[in-house]
Symmetry: C2
Subunit: 377 residues, 2 copies
C-alpha cells in the first residue's frame, strides 16, 4: 500500500505515562494515567511550531496518516493534516491525543484501576473539558512545548480549544474552534441524555461493570450512535442522500425490518460503532459536553470568562449545522469581540450538518489554509 | 368534581364491533375488529353536522370531556371541543375514535386474535393511514353519516384528514390538517427508526410477544418517548423552560443521575408513557407515519394525488415546529392550489414546537373558531 504524497504517510502512536497525580474538577484524584499520542511533522528548534488537535466525542489520537498493514486506517482528520494540506506538516508539528477517559489506549473506564487491580468501569471519574486541558498542558510540558502555535478542534474539540485560551492564555497563540458552542443548550443536553439512557438502561451495561460480565451493552451503544448520527446530519442532506428511497424493491414490505435507506444507514452506523466504542467512554464524553460552560465561573458572563484570553481566534460554523448552529458560534464571537480579541469568523455554506467540520469543503479548507499560513512560528 | 361550563362534561366511550372482514393495504385480512369511539354533541336530523377528529401517534378516542371518578381525565383536545369552544358541540356532532391497531380499546396488537385465541402481539398487521380512513368511513356508515362536515387532525391525525379528501372526496366537505406533512422526510423516518429500534432491541420485547412473557419492554418504550419529546419541542422552548437549570443544588454532581432539569423532564415523560402505552402500537403508529405518502400512487406527484379532492381545506403550521415545519404544510397548500381547491393557510407563531397543535394558542384557536363558524351544516 502507498500513501498519498500529501499525507503524513505511515504513522505509529506512542503511549506516554504521567506519574503525577491529577485531581479532577470533580474532586476525584487519579494517581497516574497514560495518554495515547501521535505526532506529525517536526518540532522546530524554538519549539514554536506545535499545533494541538483536540478530538470530539468519538475521536482519538489518530488524527492523520495511516497504519501499516491495516485497511482504511487513515486518521479522522486526514484531509486537513499533511505536507501541503491546510494544517501543513512541513511548517507545523502536529499533535493528536486520545483524551483521558477515552477508549483508544489512554487511561479510561476500560483501563485497570491500580488501586483495585480491576478495570475502572463505572468507577472511572467524570472528566471535564477543563481536566482535559490540564492533561494536554502536561503533555506539552513533556514535549518541551511552552506555547502552542495553535490549538484546534471541532465540536467538543473546539470547546477544548476555547478552554485553552482561558486556562492557559500564555501558552496558546491561536485558537481555532469550529462547529462549537460556548455551552450546550437544553436541546443538546436532551439528546445526550436520551443516548445515555439507552446505554444506562441496557441490561448488558451492568452499572458500567460489563467488562467483568464479558458482555458489551451493544444495544445501548447502537441506539446512542444512531441518535448521534441524526443530530450530526442535516435534514437537507438526508433528503438528498436518502430521501424516501426504499432498500430493495419499490414496494413497502409492511414490517419493521429495514425498509428505507435511511434506516439501513443508521443501523449500519450503529452496529459499526457498537463494535468498537466503549460505553462508559460514551457516557463520559457526553457528560463533558453537558458540563462545558466556561461562563459558569463568571456568573454566566461569557465575556468575563474570556477576559484572560490572549490568543487570536478563528471561529467557524456551518449553515446546515443544527447541533451547534452558527448562532452559537456567534455567541463566542461576540464575547471575544467585546474583549477586543482578534477574531476571524466564518459562516460556511454546507449541507452536511454538524459533520461538515470533518469534511474537505473547499471554502472551509481554503480559509483554514490561509489562517495557518498566516501564523508566525 | 365539576366540569367547566364550556366542556362537554362527563363522557363515556363505546366499543363498536365491525364484523365485515377488512383487507388491509398490506394484503392482510382482518376477519373482524372493534373500535373505541366517543361522541360529543348531537347528530342533527340531516346528519350533516358530524366532525371526525383523527388522533396522532399516542392519541385515542377520548378527545374531549372527563371520565367520572377519574382524576385528570380530560380528553387530549379538551381545549378545542365543547359548547362555545372552537369546535363547538352546540353546532357539531364530534366523533373521536381510537384507530385500528391502537392500544386504548380498539382492536390492536394487545387484542385476542380470534384465529389463535392468543394475543396478536407482533402478528398484528401493519396498518396504514389509508386503512384507517376506510375504518373511519365504515364507522360513518354505522352512524348513518354520508358526509362529514369536517375531518380534522394534527400531525398523523392531519394526514388522515388529508387522505380522507383523496379516498372519499364526496364524503368530506372540509379538511383541517394541522402540523402535518404530505409525507415524512428521511429525517422524520430516521427519528422514528431510532425509536423503533429502542423497542425492537429491548430484551423484554420478545419479538413483539411480550404479553405471553408477562413483561413489557418499558426500557425501549421509555427511550422512544424521550426521543419523541425531543422532536415535539423546540430548541427555543427548551431553552426558555429548562435552560441549563440544575435539578437540586447549583453544583455539578459529576455523575449520570439526573443533573439538568431537561433530563428530569425527559425521564418523567418516558417513564409515564412506558407505564401505559403498548410497544407494538408504537411501532405500528410510527410505521403508518413512515408509509403515509398519498403521492406515491401518482408517481410522486402530490398535485395529481389531490386531483380527486373536493373538500375545502384549512392547513395550519407552527413556526417553531421542526418536525413538520410550515414548509411541509406549504407543499400541501401548493398542491391544493394547483388543483384550484379552496385553501386557507395559516402559519402561526409559536414557541412550543410540534406540540403547538394541541395547545390553546389564541391566534390558532381564533382561526379555528372562525373556520368552524363558517362551515355550513
Amino acid at each position: 500500500m502507498q500513501t498519498p504524497p500529501d499525507s503524513v504517510g505511515f504513522v505509529a502512536p506512542m503511549k506516554l505515562a504521567f506519574e503525577d497525580a491529577l485531581t479532577l474538577r470533580s474532586g476525584v484524584m487519579l494517581p497516574r494515567y497514560e495518554l495515547m499520542v501521535e505526532t506529525y511533522g517536526e518540532l522546530n528548534a524554538a519549539k514554536s511550531n506545535a499545533v494541538l488537535v483536540c478530538h470530539a466525542l468519538s475521536g482519538h489520537h489518530h488524527v492523520a496518516g495511516y497504519y501499516r498493514n491495516q485497511e482504511r486506517s487513515e486518521g479522522w482528520w486526514e484531509n486537513l493534516v499533511g505536507p501541503g494540506r491546510p494544517l501543513d506538516t512541513r511548517k507545523f508539528f502536529v499533535i493528536g491525543v486520545n483524551n483521558l477517559g477515552g477508549c483508544h489506549g489512554s487511561t479510561g473506564p476500560g483501563a485497570i484501576n491500580p488501586q483495585t487491580g480491576r478495570r475502572y468501569g463505572a468507577d472511572f471519574p467524570v472528566v471535564t473539558v477543563q481536566d482535559w486541558v490540564i492533561t494536554q498542558a502536561r503533555l506539552a510540558d513533556r514535549l518541551g512545548i511552552d506555547s502552542f502555535a495553535a490549538v484546534i478542534g471541532g465540536s467538543l474539540g473546539g470547546m477544548q480549544a476555547l478552554q485553552w485560551s482561558i486556562d492557559f492564555p500564555e501558552r496558546v497563540r491561536h485558537v481555532l474552534a469550529i462547529a462549537a458552542a460556548p455551552r450546550l443548550s437544553a436541546e443538546n443536553i436532551g439528546f445526550n441524555e436520551v443516548a445515555r439512557q439507552a446505554i444506562l438502561s441496557d441490561p448488558d451495561f451492568h452499572g458500567g461493570h460489563f467488562y467483568e460480565h464479558n458482555v458489551v451493552p451493544t444495544r445501548g451503544l447502537r441506539l446512542a450512535r444512531m441518535l448521534g448520527h441524526m443530530t450530526y446530519l442535516s435534514d437537507d442532506l438526508m433528503r438528498a442522500k436518502f430521501g424516501r428511497d426504499l432498500r430493495g424493491g419499490d414496494a413497502y414490505k409492511f414490517g419493521y425490518d429495514v425498509e428505507f435507506e435511511i434506516e439501513s444507514y443508521l443501523r449500519y452506523q450503529g452496529d459499526k460503532f457498537a463494535g468498537y466504542f466503549d460505553a462508559n467512554t460514551y457516557l463520559l464524553m457526553t457528560r463533558a459536553l453537558d458540563y462545558f460552560d466556561p461562563a459558569q465561573d463568571y456568573a454566566g458572563d461569557l465575556e468575563a470568562a474570556f477576559r484572560r484570553a490572549r490568543a487570536k481566534f478563528f471561529i467557524a460554523a456551518f449553515t446546515s449545522d443544527w447541533r451547534f448552529s452558527p448562532a452559537r458560534s456567534k455567541e463566542i464571537v461576540r464575547a471575544l469581540v467585546a474583549n477586543r480579541r482578534d477574531v476571524s469568523f466564518a459562516e460556511i455554506a454546507s449541507v452536511e450538518g454538524h459533520d461538515s467540520f470533518l469534511l474537505p469543503i473547499p471554502e472551509y479548507h481554503a480559509l483554514l489554509s490561509t489562517y495557518f499560513r498566516g501564523i508566525v512560528i
